[in-house]
Symmetry: C2
Subunit: 316 residues, 2 copies
């Protein structure tokens, strides 16, 4: 472990911001202009990889109804970050490509039941869509990421067998996917489970990038992120202010807060390319756009030592 | 790491509840009867090791002014848990022993400045007190724990040199202390720092128990707890509902929530001897006694899979 830590401190960590997609998808829709302001604040903070939006049905995800306009506007501005557009099927991929997106994030749930609920398809059906999407992407010179949702647990059927995750990952890899993300969709994973699954998959998927997408539903997102990085994951998804929470469990179900993660990695000597001060401003802006205050620890308490010598001197 | 995890799953973890002392010390004082009710709920949940109170100056810590009465009442009831009474000096130790306490938790801050602010003594001065306290404890057949406060950072002077922590620990050990706790008093430690310090100290202090006491100020308490356990710590302090927050940073500075920790360890296959359902009830009671709702993830969202198939089915 001592050796691991030493090695770890010399490695930078890729972060993908998911504020504009996962962070906002369950919120009341906000104007495209407000999203553009958040996007600019994130880029100013150094975010270079982000979920921009999802090309899903507006009646099912109204907060993403402006996907085409948002994508066209951002691309026309000459923005440099990787701009991922989430798609669940061929129709979504066609829309994304038409809007100029060249990074398609295809989501398939490992849990059959969740995939049916989420996409109306079996896992096999989704993988057939993936095959067609890869053809479209190849023609358009676009990249395809597969996000393996419910990789650690399903809201309908409970625990998910790691062998199923490996199976869907291998089938996707054989089709020619460019990178992967493991998603703890409902925040049920524990660090030893994350570590074991990432380790198994990282070997199998090498040299493709394996990211991790975590929800903090049971307070384990940060520990899981660190476990994933130690086990061979090279990217972590997070949203400023922990946005993305379920309205029925305030403060509990959001994404891993990006500012807490950046702060933690700074403290651990792992560069992220993100400016924490600017990110904290982006967090206030993003959360404010949906009437919230940042639900992050560093957003409330500030970075460590920043308050010294004014920080409250507790007893122990 | 794979091997570590396998080994870890076979080991139980000791937990010390710190609700009644650290959790309540900065709150408006509550009646002794209310504390007794919380104590009983904690014991009912399986808590077997706890900070009961602190024998400090009532003008400085009014919420602990009933220390003598609380200790006498609990001891008279024939309670079985280890009952730790926090002391900063000989006078406190005398009071604790007179009240029947046989587990003295002596706190010294590794940071000179914090120790002066907290106790009015230099570190050397505190260690002189410790020498006298150990004599008193020996005469009374009592145990002495040393809690090394500000072990990862000081609110006044910033980073703390691990060599200073080791020095104070070794000097204490040479006096004949029974166990140790490393305290991240203001929540500045990062997992690699926790891991390195625990590893270094665990070797030095072997075979004495080395616990870890964490505040979640920057969202790292859970990750730090897991890092400490992997590095050789055998006990973790925590408070139900994350009580112990600084009133000026709501939701950010509290203790590691005990129910989140118990849930995480259950998920990781590590027994704690605590019943989570009963603990969640104790958390509601304890937080309610100071007009709060539990600030824990599991307190809000419930244990993993508990809501299946009713848990909200998020998109990814």
């Amino acid at each position: 472990m001592k050796t691991d830590t030493t090695v770890a401190t010399s490695r930078s960590v890729k972060l993908r911001d998911v504020t504009l997609r996962d962070g906002l998808q369950d919120e009341v829709p906000i104007p495209t202009e407000a999203k553009l302001a958040v996007f600019e604040a994130l880029v100013l903070a150094g975010v270079s990889d982000l979920e921009l939006t999802s090309f899903t049905r507006p009646d099912r995800v109204p907060a993403m109804a402006d996907a085409d306009l948002l994508a066209r506007t951002v691309i026309a501005s000459g923005a440099t970050p990787l701009l991922w557009g989430l798609v669940l099927n061929t129709r979504g991929a066609e829309r994304a490509l038409e809007a100029g997106i060249r990074h398609l994030q295809f989501v398939v749930s490992v849990s059959e039941r969740h995939n049916l609920e989420n996409t109306g398809r079996t896992v096999d059906g989704s993988l057939q869509e993936l095959e067609r999407i890869i053809e479209l992407a190849t023609d358009a010179d676009a990249l395809v990421e597969v996000t393996l949702a419910t990789a650690f647990g399903c809201p309908f059927t409970g625990p998910v067998d790691p062998a199923s995750v490996l199976d869907v990952a291998k089938r996707s890899k054989d089709m020619g996917v460019d990178r992967f993300t493991l998603a703890d969709t409902i925040g049920t994973g524990a660090p030893n489970e994350v570590s074991a699954l990432v380790r198994g998959l990282a070997d199998e998927l090498h040299p493709l990038e394996l990211g991790i997408h975590l929800h903090d539903t049971r307070g384990l997102a940060m520990a899981n992120a660190i476990a994933a990085l130690e086990a061979g994951s090279t990217r972590v998804d997070a949203a400023v202010g922990g946005l993305g929470g379920c309205p029925f469990a305030p403060g509990a179900s959001g994404n891993l807060p990006l500012e807490d993660l950046v702060h933690a990695l700074m403290a651990m000597g792992r560069p992220t390319g993100i400016d924490l001060r600017a990110l904290l401003e982006a967090s206030v802006l993003a959360c404010g756009s949906v009437g919230r205050t940042p639900n992050s620890h560093v957003g409330i308490a500030g970075p460590r030592y920043s308050g010294t010598p004014f920080e409250s001197g507790r007893t122990i």
